[in-house]
């Protein structure tokens, strides 16, 4: 494989996906806090805590496997 040591690890992309989705879902959960959608168990505000979980996981993955970081060779 050509130049494999420079490759961005797949885990970084997983982190980006989680982070972006976490922010979108968390924000959407906050926006609908006072008028939740007509779904079952909407009172639990699942988008807020699920979005929050995704943000935390995404930040950890992005930070740990960022390009140029110590673990960049882990494909």
């Amino acid at each position: 494989m050509s130049g494999k040591s420079e490759i961005i690890p797949v885990w970084f992309f997983v982190g980006v996906l989680f982070l972006v989705y976490g922010i979108l879902i968390f924000a959407s959960g906050l926006a609908e806090w006072s008028h939740p959608p007509a779904t079952v168990l909407a009172n639990l505000h699942a988008p807020v805590w699920w979005g929050g979980l995704l943000i935390v996981l995404g930040a950890v993955y992005c930070g740990t496997f960022r390009p140029g970081g110590k673990k960049t060779q882990i494909i």
Binding site: M1, S2, G3, K4, I7, I8, V10, F13, V14, V16, L17, F18, V20, Y21, L24, I25, A27, S28, G29, E32, P36, P37, T39, V40, L41, A42, L44, A46, P47, W50, G51, L54, I74, I75
Partner: protein, 569 residues
């Protein structure tokens, strides 16, 4: 984009908010971006078809499971759980875990040491061109057919749930897969499969969590199922398998143990190149052995996001679901249980995540099919039969073109599936035609050096023909008589028939292989080094720490499997 999608929408189960559309669009942009980014790293044949053989055990293991986690898998087995109850989990536990462990600990060393690029490639080394060609042709046909049916299944869901036009869903999703696989080859397919694996989990996991909160836990769910379907047993795995009539699947325990666990799942997980290709990309033999073992733990957990939503559907949905073939206006089919549960709990944002997970499942399945098709076509059909000894860049170019052509043929088969509704039911059985006998051929070839080239070919051919013959007889005019013969009881239903069909076709393959071996001349030992058990030295693991040994984790997976069987007995 929102306006464009809006124009393509007709009637729908749910409506996507702008945030949902942003989630779907970001996913497409990311997978395409990864494909273009990885193109620069996929220059040689080894890079394009084998991902440079540089993957860690974790990446190879996750891709191994993810390639199997297509939309048919997600929607189909959730629907089966609604139809048959927890019996459907047999396909994730005893019908997968022992086979994955067997692949890692027993068979993978032979695939890896022989440096083969594919399963037909191993048959070429072990049995020669005839058996390899037969296996490659059947695999290529079935892979493309499966890819098309997978595509059609996804487009139908998009139409029912979101009201999206069938043609729009098929074209946008398949062209995206074609671009990123053609750009980065297996490297790109594996990267996206890992991404899709996480997306599927986090997109679908909320359904069982919220479902169990609503029912008050497992026992509350079981009580509601018993209220909704009195007299039927949907929550036991073994205690109702004593007779075909005792369970909704029409299954007997011998079909699960001998047909599913010992033949069909072994055939699928150890010889279907779609999944084996992911493990062959591992960076060394220990990673190759460990990858399926790691994958087995994740596979064991998949029922949480597939089977449990089906069971929760039995407990919670206000309406009953029906078979797709007998649907009337306003009714929903079994296969729609997962989207229905998604719509029950997920509002804006989470709905987009769930829908993207379903799309990702489709794309993972399709990328797996087309990347495996490109490898088998280029290395096992084009190179040996059409153009030998071409330079490496020529084969890479062929692989890229083949990926694009494979996707376009798949689109054709998707429209074929649209015209013949019953083809959806038959394709699973069709796939079994070739996988069950192939397991007999590969296993005998690996374990016994006396088996000859001619025996490998004739055994595989006889097993395949016997499987097709049994299928035709059991689905013909006097099918009930043949079902009673082959599946041991006239009460055996579809899946039970498939299991016994696999069992007998594998037995036929083994018997014919043994008979032909006895009357033909064996190959010299020197030609079989690295291909057969008695002539291959597999590196011992004495110097590897205990926690890094595949055997330890394989044993742990089997113990966990046993515990699950006892809990849900």
């Amino acid at each position: 984009m929102t306006a464009t999608l809006g124009m393509l929408v007709t009637k729908r189960l749910v409506r996507l908010a702008p945030v949902d559309l942003a989630i779907v669009v970001f996913y497409f942009a990311l997978v395409l971006g990864i494909g273009f980014y990885l193109k620069r790293f996929a220059k040689t044949g080894e890079d394009f078809f084998m991902a440079g053989r540089e993957m860690t055990a974790w990446v190879a293991g996750l891709a191994f499971v993810s390639a199997n986690l297509g939309s048919l898998e997600l929607l189909g087995w959730a629907g089966s759980a609604y139809q048959y109850g927890i019996l459907a989990a047999h396909w994730y536990w005893i019908g997968a875990i022992p086979a994955m462990i067997f692949l890692g600990l027993v068979m993978m060393p032979f695939y890896y040491i022989s440096k083969t690029h594919s399963v037909p490639g191993y048959l070429q080394l072990r049995y020669g061109t005839a058996a390899s060609g037969l296996s490659a042709v059947t695999f290529a046909i079935m892979t493309i057919l499966m890819s098309g049916v997978n595509m059609y299944a996804m487009a139908v869901v998009m139409k029912v749930v979101l009201g999206w036009d069938l043609n729009f869903s098929i074209l946008v999703s398949s062209i995206t897969v074609a671009i990123y696989v053609a750009a980065g080859g297996l490297f790109s397919a594996i990267f996206n499969e890992v991404l899709q694996f996480f997306l599927i989990w986090f997109g679908a996991l909320l359904i069982p969590i919220l479902g169990l909160i609503e029912t008050g836990g497992w026992h509350g769910m079981v009580a509601r199922i018993q209220d909704n379907f009195p007299g039927q047993d949907f929550t036991h795995m073994w205690s109702n398998l004593g007779h075909f009539k005792d369970n909704p699947m029409g299954m007997h325990w011998t079909g699960i143990v001998f047909g599913l666990a010992m033949v069909q799942s072994m055939g699928y997980w150890t010889t279907d190149f779609l999944v084996v290709q992911r493990v062959l990309s591992a960076k060394d033999i220990r990673s190759a052995k460990l990858a399926p073992v790691i994958g087995s733990f994740f596979k064991m957990a998949v029922p949480i996001i597939v089977i449990l939503p089906g069971l929760l559907g039995l407990a919670l949905l206000p309406m009953h679901l029906y078979p797709a073939s007998n649907l009337e206006a306003g009714q929903f089919s079994y296969n729609e249980v997962l989207p229905l549960m998604l719509a029950r709990y997920c509002g804006p944002g989470l709905l987009g995540l769930g829908i993207t997970a379903l799309v990702a499942g489709f794309m993972a399945g399709m990328a797996g099919n087309v990347s495996a098709f490109a490898t088998v076509w280029t290395y096992d059909l084009y190179r040996p039969f059409i153009r030998k000894n071409a330079p490496d860049p020529h084969y890479v170019s062929m692989g890229r073109w083949c990926t694009l052509i494979g996707v376009f043929i798949s689109i054709g088969t998707a429209y074929l599936a649209m015209g013949f509704a019953s083809i959806m039911d038959y394709v699973q059985a069709l796939f079994g035609f070739f996988i069950a006998p192939l397991f007999g051929t590969v296993l005998l070839g690996m374990m016994w050096k006396r088996v000859t080239r001619a025996a490998g070919f004739w055994g595989l051919l006889a097993g395949t023909i016997s499987s097709i013959t049994m299928f035709v007889l059991m689905h013909g005019k006097s099918g009930e008589r043949w079902v009673a013969l082959f599946a041991l009881s006239p009460d055996a239903k579809g899946l039970a028939q498939d299991m016994y069909q696999s069992l007998w076709s594998c037995v036929t393959c083994v018997v014919v292989t043994l008979l032909v071996t006895v009357v033909t001349k064996p190959r010299p030992d020197a030609e079989l080094k690295g291909l057969v058990y008695s002539l291959t030295e597999v590196a011992r693991e004495d110097r590897v720490g205990l926690l890094h040994r595949p055997m330890l984790w394989g044993g742990l997976a089997m113990a966990l499997l046993l515990v699950l069987q006892i809990i849900f007995w």
